[in-house]
């Protein structure tokens, strides 16, 4: 029974109870109030997903990636149909984007949808995982990837009329250095300095080789904002961000709606020479409740929504009259062990716990059966970096082998936790207090406890405290998400770096070989060679067992079927963009079918 069915089921007893109570005068007040677990539904996965139509032919072709879950099409294709101007999109987001300062504020998927409708990046990711120029036109490096020279696009202006040129990038740099996000991005990219080497040319000098530097320019570091406005009123920028993007801020009413309207002076055209964008406006509305967000789409209150929750994807699959765009990204759910603390400093314990992690059951508890694949590495099968060897190496559920591994530790007189041989090990398992995470945590607890070798204590902290505990090493077995759809180096490097040098090495584990492999991957831009290097790191992850995995994170954009162009947008060089990763939509070529 899908969500709407559940609601009917909810409503009918309510009405009936009112009638019965009215007729019988029953004072028990028996109502449907118990039936609040509306998310705990099951439903058949249908193929009602948006493949966005057929190949558009001559506009950059298409890249069809393999479907990752049965009956789910995750292809990125150029959409057919006559593009038309006009129309307004109302987009229901899962949260408000409180910060719009790219140099300062952390920006998740809801925020990216708003921010990148107004601001653009120097580079963007293509459908095949490579990076192509957007506000840049070209980027080249020296042989050892320590000096990068980038040419900028001419004829681009900011919303306030200021020109975009090399001086813009130079002026942005001190603002970026002063901000939380900007400084972190500079550090991650290994950027040492930059200078304008021409009116439209920038030269970046890095402290160490970084072949993935173009990927950094597709992130925070390459997000172009108007530096004079930012310097003049940094706080005001949150309410009135100024970029070069296809839409201009019209109204910012935090927690209610953010309205952006077409930038009449936008520089980009479609392959037929029509000026972009097609839409008149986009209204972004934060609707945190998953159920009412979907109801808002079904009722026409909004005509587009996104979700990062598997339960909502399942409910949306069962709904009529909407089109779904599903994405199975690299983002990998699961957790980590703090290897600085016994008994997690012993690989026998970590491996044993991993062998007793029933991923299928955990995914089911998370509501992801038929939606999310069990993860085996930091790349989903859609990624060019996914390898079969890494998938085969990951320890799959083998309860007996897990018991054997932990028993070996327990019986060891020199066990690291200081307990006597034969005593149970203590595991504190912590997750944020999300209902589905709690259910998943209970599944893990049952299996681990069922071994008769593990005392499990469950703890829950709010998201911010949960993160803070990891940052401050106050964690043990800790729920976490790994990886992203950016270049692998951005996610992997901080985790394999020495713990004393990297606050993001939350497991506090150092494998010299993994660290060196990650460094080597920054010294080549050959995808096959890099895939091989990252495969070796994934094999080490499986061997070291510092993480446990559940499934990859499925995301969804659901729309009124008249809304087109979400899938298969193009970069300025005519190559196909990376679609709608993690429910982030590129609005440049979105149109409403008349």
């Amino acid at each position: 029974m899908h969500r709407r069915g559940v609601k009917r089921a909810l409503a009918i007893p309510l009405l009936l109870s009112m009638v019965v109570a009215a007729c019988g005068g029953d004072d028990d007040g028996d109502t449907a109030s118990d039936d609040t677990s509306v998310e705990a539904t099951t439903g058949d996965a249908t193929d009602d997903t948006g493949d966005g139509g057929d190949d558009g032919g001559d506009d950059g072709g298409d890249v069809t990636t393999p479907a990752t879950v049965e009956d789910t099409d995750t292809s990125i294709v150029r959409e057919e149909g006559e593009r038309t101007y006009g129309g307004d999109v109302i987009f229901g987001l899962e949260a408000e984007a409180v910060g719009m300062r790219p140099w300062e504020d952390a920006c998740g998927e809801p925020c990216l949808n708003i921010q990148l409708s107004m601001m653009e990046q120097l580079m963007r990711e293509r459908a095949d995982g490579s990076y192509g120029p957007w506000l840049a036109t070209d980027i080249t490096s020296n042989d050892d990837f320590t000096v990068w020279t980038m040419t900028l696009r001419d004829g681009v202006t900011f919303h306030n009329g200021e020109p975009f040129n090399a001086q813009t990038i130079v002026d942005m740099y001190p603002v970026q250095q002063s901000g939380t996000s900007g400084a972190a991005a500079i550090n991650a990219a290994k950027l040492a300095s930059l200078e304008a080497t021409g009116d439209m040319e920038i030269t970046y000098t890095l402290s160490t080789p970084n072949s993935a530097f173009p990927a950094s320019l597709a992130g925070v570091l390459g997000r172009v904002f108007e530096p004079k406005a930012a310097a003049a009123d940094p706080d005001g920028f949150t309410m009135n961000p100024i970029g070069t993007g296809p839409f201009v801020m019209d109204k910012r009413d935090i927690d209610n709606e953010t309205v952006v309207v077409r930038n009449e002076n936008y520089w980009m055209s479609d392959p037929d020479g029509n000026q972009l964008p097609y839409l008149d406006s986009i209204t972004f509305r934060p609707i945190p409740d998953e159920g009412t967000r979907l109801d808002s789409l079904l009722s026409g209150t909004v005509n587009m929504m996104h979700s990062l929750r598997q339960g909502t994807i399942r409910d949306a699959r069962g709904a009529d009259g909407i089109q779904l765009y599903e994405f199975q990204g690299n983002n990998t759910g699961g957790g980590m062990y703090n290897t600085a603390v016994p008994p997690f400093d012993d690989v026998r314990v970590r491996r044993g716990l991993n062998l007793m992690n029933n991923q299928e059951a955990v995914i089911d508890a998370l509501g992801g059966t038929g939606i999310s694949l069990p993860a085996t590495q930091w790349f989903s099968p859609d990624s060019p970096y996914w390898t079969q060897e890494a998938a085969d190496a990951w320890p799959t559920f083998d309860f007996e082998a897990g018991v054997e591994s932990i028993q070996a530790y327990i019986d060891d007189p020199a066990r690291s936790d200081g307990k006597a041989p034969g005593e149970l090990i203590d595991v504190e398992l912590s997750c944020p207090p999300d209902p589905t995470l709690i259910a998943a945590m209970q599944v893990i607890e049952q299996v681990w406890t069922g071994s008769g070798l593990v005392n499990v204590t469950l703890t829950q902290f709010d998201q911010a405290t949960h993160i803070s505990n990891a940052v401050n090493d106050a964690h043990r077995a800790h729920c976490w998400r790994w990886s992203s759809n950016q270049d692998p180096s951005l996610a992997i490097d901080p985790v394999v770096a020495p713990p004393e040098e990297s606050v993001s090495n939350f497991p506090n584990f150092f494998n010299e070989e993994s660290f060196q492999l990650a460094q080597q991957a920054l010294q080549t831009d050959d995808v096959e060679e890099r895939t091989e290097l990252y495969k070796e790191i994934m094999l080490n992850f499986a061997e070291d067992s510092i993480f446990w995995y559940s499934g990859y994170t499925a995301t969804m954009v659901a729309v009124d079927p008249s809304i087109q162009g979400i899938n298969g947008w193009l970069l300025p060089d005519g190559t196909l963009g990376n679609g709608f990763p993690n429910a982030f939509v590129t609005f440049t070529e979105v149109w409403i079918e008349q």
Binding site: R4, K7, R8, L10, A11, L14, S17, A21, A22, G24, G25, D27, G29, D30, T31, A32, S33, D35, T36, V38, G92, A95, V98, G99, D105, A106, G179, T180, A183, A184, P234, D235, G236, T238, M239, I254, D255, N256, R285, P286, I287, P288, D289, G291, T292, R293, D295, S296, L298, S299, G300, T301, V302, D462, A464, I467, S468, A470, V471, N472
Partner: protein, 317 residues
Amino acid sequence: MARVIATRLLRLVATLLAVTFLTFSMLELLPGDPVDTLLPPDANRTEELVAQIRAELNLDDPFFVRYFSWLGDFVRGDLGKSYITGQTVADTIADRLPITLQLAMMSIGMALLIAVPLGILGAYKQGKWPDTVTSAGVQVALSVPNFIFGIFLIWLMAVQLQWLPATGWNRLTDQGLVANLKTSVLPASALALSQLAVFSRLVRSDMIATLQENYVLTARSKGLPDKYILFRHALRPSSLSLMTIVGINFGALLGGTVIIETMFAVPGLGFRLINAINSRDILVIQGITVFIATAYVVINTVVDLLYSALDPRIRRS
């Protein structure tokens, strides 16, 4: 009366001091350095930034020095500034308060509009079928949590009938009354249900007691019409406890709309508070909490004073 007012105001000040003290202590009670609490976990924690925050919040001063300094700022309306939105907390509250106030007033208004006639009917027809039916309905209304009723309303009015938007908020000042009512009626109705039940029960029981009073029996024996007796003689004395509960509920609603505001995506105080909690925007949490607590205490004091003014027996006691 002056003594009553003075006593009430003294109590008000004492309560407010306790409320502000506890709210201010929140930052101290959290483990670790307050700077860690204020900074996002992934922040670039430079020495300059830490020093700047310590200086802004006077974190190097003793606790009570900081408390009284903060209290002084609070009295002047300076509750600090959000480290995330850049907005002052006072502006944030000023922006959201009208929305939450409107929801609270609408829901109480809707509840009273239905509850008072139902209560009178129940009392007038005590033990007969209209009383039985309304009592049963009230019992159901009391048993249904407001968010469940909210889900039902969205399903019926937005998804099935498509008469009203499921979520969102049209500001009265921007989009006019009709557009505003379209977005406010569902959340207000969801909030009204349980209040309606409480109000109705209260009116019914008070009215039954009043109708037993000698002066009502005298009025009846004089042949006055029932309608006249109910509305002229019985309703006013039966409304005193209703007025108290309305006041208490109104204060509670200022901070009690969190779930409904979140469900219907209404940008009121509760929605901002929950977002601030999620993003650990401590100064906003502090500011809104202390504001809501203050409003609650002040409203209850005003209700107490009105109660005394309306009923001379209480004033004299």
